[in-house]
Amino acid sequence: MSTTSSAPGVETHIHRDDEGSRLGMWLFLFTELLLFGGMFLVYAVYKFTHAEEFHLAAKELNTLFGALNTIILLTSSLTMVLAIVAIKRGQKYLSLFFQLMTLAMALGFLVNKYFEWMAKISHGIYPGSEQLLEKSNGEILFFGLYYVMTGLHGLHIVIGMAVIAYMTWFTWKDKINQDQYVRLESAGLYWHLVDIIWIFLFPLFYLIS
């Protein structure tokens, strides 16, 4: 292979490539997607083999809690994307406002989730509890998946909040600004993925009764 020199040498070690960064972020999102995808596969199989019992178990869940959290998360996705529009237009404080709104709604989601879990646990429905073990196999599996999947999703919300809080700090310090906002975009991508996962969790657990 013949090589000739044209570019004036290699000057910079780490160069800026926003599109490359976003591509990397997307690839990371695929790993998250497939992480949950593995659990969706488990869900699909057990839903198929224990259809009646899943139906029965889902009646225990409160659709109102689920629907409310869906609305909260969708709205937080909106404010996240608006924060990016704002920073692109140089409206720093508007962007900060939207980011803080996103954080507030994420917190709201968790509080809601906390009460929902606590209600279940106080009824004696949690992994390993005697009351759960008395139920049918399908119901044990349903609640096993319910706790693991919403639990892991909740963990992603917490991580997402930490990341967004970090971005808010960067925006405040002008490290994220009108010209450099790829980190905010990546955080946004992550947040939307967490939203998408919830979009599927909601009908699969709350709407099959």
């Binding site: 292979m1 040498g9 070690h13 497939l34 596969l41 693991v148």
Partner: protein, 550 residues
């Protein structure tokens, strides 16, 4: 380390950055240094893995107890498997040689995310240490085999959780490497380096990287679910809680079968580099080899359940997976045919790298064909879980990938370190290794066919002759390994200095960098005009070159 300078036009080995000494290595974000870090750590883990294998073989030299009790033997094969798979073969080529040469071969200064690259090495080390620590923690070394099958893995009292978490962390490390490679290939190719001018090693790494990104998370979550099942008694797979253990096997193999292709594809890439260079000819069927890498990555993701033919799947699933298994042999065969066609009428130089590459083709072909035998349902029922399987995957994984790694070492060692090993010793090492390898694993085909189950501590006296041959083979194999590694590492100190850029007369970009490469690889950023294997000076005949015009 002679010159100490901040000038970037200095060998990556001599460069002094923010940190010096050891810190300058373990905190370095230079892809070449990270490659070397992986090389060193991988060699350490390999030594541990070989030791466990050696002890296992020694135990099996005679029926009954020979050196250890059954429980210890169970931990031996578990750790041998975990270490060899997660800490040697999977990172072997992508993380060591991929890190070192992928950016160079596409004309880039580094990978797309250098800091992520360093993080992936750190995760690798943490995961590796955790796996080794799990042996010594109270509770006893894990004894589930590397497959962690349910329900035993939720019942046993040994340290399964540290081993599971170790595998999860190692998976994450592997994902980060794959992610980095995909972005690097897409974003950092030098001007003129189109996809079809990329060396075939890069094609194979690119295909591998996609499997790493897409398949690894599935095993990640599966292992985490087992952890949750053990710690919180969440009902997922455990039949006592209504779960389905076969579903665990499905999810485990959805990753772990493609993982086999994570292991073999880069080795195929190495062979595709070495064959044209040492026959001084254009590679035969460049596009076929490139696309067969993608095809293997794709088809390899669809065949996982052939590990489960005796697990009680539906008849339809068995037929579907058997057919798909046969299909995956097509792209593999395409590669073998193309390599052999490249050698035909070439000006062959039998240097050590070519010997190892030919060893790869020979041993991989045996491994591949015996794989086809197992893909047939009726035969599979007979030989399932016998040592026939063990022989098969050692022929593919060790004879294939292992020899691929050794070939890569001999091919690129002078470029990486600027020192040449002793070629005669290297060839001797190869032959000892080759003889030892076949003596170690071929008897396993025979005894497996006759009914010797795998993973058994004890056996019937009629199998002893095969076990004895196999154990003797392991001694010869280890002798070969020692000859090879001592020769290579001795070269670092006493080997002849190499300063020439292109010692093998290769046409890919790494041979136009200084030896050893500079910090940012190239003196001047390269521009690419022709394909990677265009041996214009050494044309054998014009027609072949015409065929290969890209």
């Amino acid at each position: 380390m002679s010159s100490s300078t901040n000038d970037v036009n200095v060998s990556y080995l001599d460069y002094k950055g923010k940190h010096s000494g050891l810190l300058g290595w373990i905190l370095s974000v230079d892809h070449k240094r990270i490659g070397i870090l992986y090389l060193i750590s991988m060699m350490v883990f390999f030594t541990v893995g070989v030791t466990f294998g050696f002890l296992m073989r020694l135990e099996l030299i005679a029926p009954g107890r020979t050196i250890v009790d059954p429980q210890t033997y169970n931990s031996f094969f578990t750790l041998h498997g975990i270490i060899m798979i997660f800490l040697f073969i999977i990172p072997g080529l992508p993380a060591v040689f991929g890190n070192f040469f992928l950016p160079i071969m596409i004309g880039a200064a580094d990978v797309a995310f250098p800091r992520l690259n360093l993080l992936s090495w750190w995760l690798f080390i943490i995961g590796g240490l955790l796996a080794i620590i799990s042996v010594f923690l109270p509770g006893g070394a894990p004894d589930t085999g590397w497959t962690f099958y349910i329900p035993y893995s939720v019942r046993t009292t040994t340290n399964v959780i540290p081993a599971l978490i170790a595998a999860f962390i190692l998976g994450f490390s592997s994902i980060l490497t794959g992610l980095n490679f995909v972005v690097t290939v897409h974003r950092l190719r030098a001007p003129g380096m189109t996809f079809f001018k990329m060396p075939l090693f890069i094609w194979s790494l690119y295909s591998t990287a996609w499997i790493q990104v897409l398949a690894t998370p599935i095993i990640g979550i599966t292992l985490l679910l087992v952890v949750a099942e053990r710690t919180l008694s969440v009902g997922i797979f455990d039949p006592a809680l209504g779960g389905d253990p076969v579903l665990f096997q499905h999810l485990f193999w959805i990753y772990s079968h493609p993982a086999v292709y994570i292991m073999i594809l880069p080795a195929m890439g190495v062979v595709s580099e070495i064959i044209p260079v040492f026959s001084q000819r254009t590679i035969f069927g460049y596009k076929f080899i490139a696309f067969s890498s993608l095809a293997i990555a794709f088809l390899g993701s669809l065949v996982w359940a052939h590990h489960m033919f005796t697990a009680g799947m539906s008849g339809v699933a068995m037929i579907v997976f058997s057919v798909l298994t046969f299909l995956v042999s097509i792209p593999s065969a395409i590669k073998v045919f193309n390599w052999v066609s490249t050698l035909y009428k070439g000006s062959i130089l039998t240097d050590p790298p070519l010997l190892f590459a030919l060893g790869f083709i020979f041993l991989f072909s045996i491994g591949g064909f015996t794989g086809l035998i197992q893909g047939a349902l009726s035969v599979n029922l007979h030989i399932h879980d016998t040592s026939f399987i063990v022989a098969h995957f050692h022929y593919v994984m060790f004879g294939g990938t292992g020899f691929g790694i050794f070939a890569a070492m001999h091919y690129w060692w002078p470029k990486m370190f600027g020192r040449m090993y002793n070629k005669v010793v290297a060839k001797t090492g190869f032959w000892v290794l080759f003889v030892g390898f076949n003596l170690l694993y071929f008897p396993m085909f025979v005894m497996g066919w006759l009914g010797m189950p795998r993973r058994y501590y004890d056996y019937l006296p009629e199998f002893q002759i095969y076990h004895m041959l196999s154990t003797v083979g392991s001694w010869i194999l280890i002798t070969g390994l020692l000859i090879m590694f001592i020769n290579l590492f001795n070269a670092l100190k006493n080997g002849k200095k190499v300063t020439e850029e292109n010692i093998w007369n290769g046409e890919t970009l790494e041979w136009s960098t200084p030896t050893p490469p500079f910090l940012f690889n190239f003196k001047e950023a390269p521009t690419v005009e022709s394909g990677p294997y265009e041996y214009k000076r050494n044309e054998v005949s014009e027609t072949e070159v015409k065929e290969e015009k890209v």
